[in-house]
């Protein structure tokens, strides 16, 4: 308990609380996991920068006591790329929502992954545009309802982890708000990995997504999330049929690849 209080004092801007998130929202759980992950990795507070986009989860930046950069919709990774190149010694965490990252920010996402620039991208995936009131995103599962898909969306969803891998990212992991300890560990590992690290964090949005799709209250959504999730290790022993409808969590890929800022600065020192 004492440790939590200490963390709260150091890393949270307690004066800015209470937060703007709805009751039952998973954003607080993901934010708390991030704070603990930073603590666990023992980064110097002054080296940590939180960058975020636009949307509910991106408001987390305002509550975290670091240098925090709340950018424009979809562009967080592009801002972060500039900052990282200017100051490669900084430790960047980029918080984005599913629509923010994969729709309007899709191009920046694949190019940040392609460059394998060293930062930790945390995509809080609640399958919906929450702040604007429940429109479907590229990560809304097919058939699910949204204000802009009243009969259920007929669009197919992105597989974000594989999209990142295909684009060139070197670390990809998936966790859920229902398993905050695992999420915390995944964020720590991702941040310690050199290169572009994606952590996709499934998070419940009972108000704009759960209610419309009759998924129950926050507790039901978290329980469902937990029941459906299966670790990478266990999943590797199961067949395709047994995995249907499951969410595979854990480190999906962890590769070694040249990192952009390091390669750039190495290349210019050679040119000198």
């Amino acid at each position: 308990m004492a440790i939590i209080e200490q963390l709260t004092q150091d890393f949270l801007r307690t004066k800015k609380l209470p937060h703007i998130w709805c009751p039952g929202c998973g954003n607080g759980i993901v934010t708390a996991a991030l704070v603990r992950a930073i603590e666990r990795a023992e980064y110097d507070q002054r080296d940590v920068v939180i960058v975020s986009g636009i949307g509910c989860s991106s408001r987390a930046a305002g509550y975290l006591n670091f240098n925090t950069l709340h950018t424009t919709h979809g562009r967080a990774l592009a801002f972060a790329t500039g900052l990282k190149m200017a100051r490669p010694e900084l430790k960047l965490f980029v918080i984005m929502g599913d629509g923010d990252c994969s729709a309007i920010g899709g191009n920046h996402f694949i190019h940040a992954a392609r460059r394998n620039i060293d930062l930790t991208a945390i995509v809080v995936n609640n399958h919906i545009y929450g702040m604007t009131g429940g429109q479907h995103s590229p990560l809304t599962p097919e058939g699910k309802k949204a204000t802009t898909a009243p009969g259920g969306t007929v669009e197919r969803e992105f597989d974000l982890i594989n999209l990142a891998r295909g684009a060139g990212a070197s670390f990809g992991a998936k966790g859920t708000a229902a398993q905050p300890r695992q999420l915390e560990q995944l964020i720590t590992r991702g941040s310690q990995h050199k290169g572009f690290s994606l952590i996709e964090a499934l998070s419940p949005c009972p108000i704009a997504y759960g209610r419309r799709n009759k998924l129950g209250g926050p507790v039901d959504m978290l329980r469902d999330m937990k029941e459906k999730s299966i670790s990478v290790e266990r999943a590797s022993k199961l067949g395709e049929e047994e995995l249907a409808g499951k969410t595979i969590t854990g480190v999906i890929f962890d590769l070694e690849a040249p990192e952009y800022s390091e390669e750039y600065y190495r290349s210019i020192s050679k040119e000198k």
């Binding site: 950018t71 592009a78 200017a86 191009n107």
Partner: protein
Amino acid sequence: MPETKPVLMQGNVACAEGAINAGVRFYAGYPITPSTEVAERMAARLPDLGGVFIQMEDEIASMAAVIGASIGGMRTLTATSGPGFSLKQENLGYAIMAEIPCVVVNVQRMGPSTGAPTAPAQGDVMQARWGTHGDHPIIAFSPASVYEAYYLTVAAVNLSQKIRQPIVMLLDEVIGHMREKVLIPETGRLMVEKSSDKVPADWKPYDDKGVTPLVPFGFGHYYHVTGLFHDQYGFPTTDPPQVARSLDRIHEKLDKYRDEIVLTNYIGHKEPRVAIVTYGCTVRSARAVVKKAYWQNRKEVGLLSLQTIWPFPEQEIKALAKQADVILVPEMNMGQIVGEIERHVRGEAEVVPVNRYDGEMITPDEISEAVGRWLS
């Protein structure tokens, strides 16, 4: 002023070299005609200086990366042309709101849309002013020569740092692409105006009392940067007095530093009957006319050229309107700055547009003909 030497230089290259000599060490951009030479020069020069050149995935990302690098403490530049300038507007607004210094070069080509990529025009005057949404202040410089492209970029970089305001360098294709003899300092002689190195103990990123220097991220000052309306510490607010205060704040600094921002130049008769007001490459044609009409033939003609078009030099225009009967406004568009002039002249003088929008420069003959019509 460091020692100078004459060289042949292109306008776009002069922007790049001016930026470098003013301490810019970060460039992010996306290729677009007719501005690409700025990027190419930066790509060739910055690595040797330990700087960063990055070709981003699009124009939007370039603007974002430049802002990110500025927050990291670097002096930054990006360059584009009309279509790209349109794409940069959202994040340009962000930089204005969050008071992040940076310089955006827009080498104007003919629009709308893809238009004529290699044809000159001055059609982005109003886009530079109002391209991004909301009641924002903007500074835009418009060089009329390669020399001005160089020195106005130096001024833009330093001023941008000093008052934490993005500045637009509004070139046109003629100035961007032409090569000209210029006198510039030897490479490596920096013209960096340092605003302040020291952070006061009670430093606030958006101090109510006025502009404070930007303290880059990573030095233990844990403040928040956002495009939302914010308080003195950068935190979002919807409190009406604070919102209004926040908007006043970004406008007031332009008023406070007006003398450093608003640059104009007058040549010709002291009490002109016919005055020409113009900017960019069109200044050159107008100057040729005034040289002949006034210097050779002592006609009552004068030229006010605007190096700064935004904020609009309204005092200078009002003073001119008291002297002149007629103000001719040649522009390579269908009439943009002319409306602004009319607004401030308020009928004190006749304001007459001289427009050309066929992808060619306005010639001295065209201006001369208009002047002649009003002199007789």
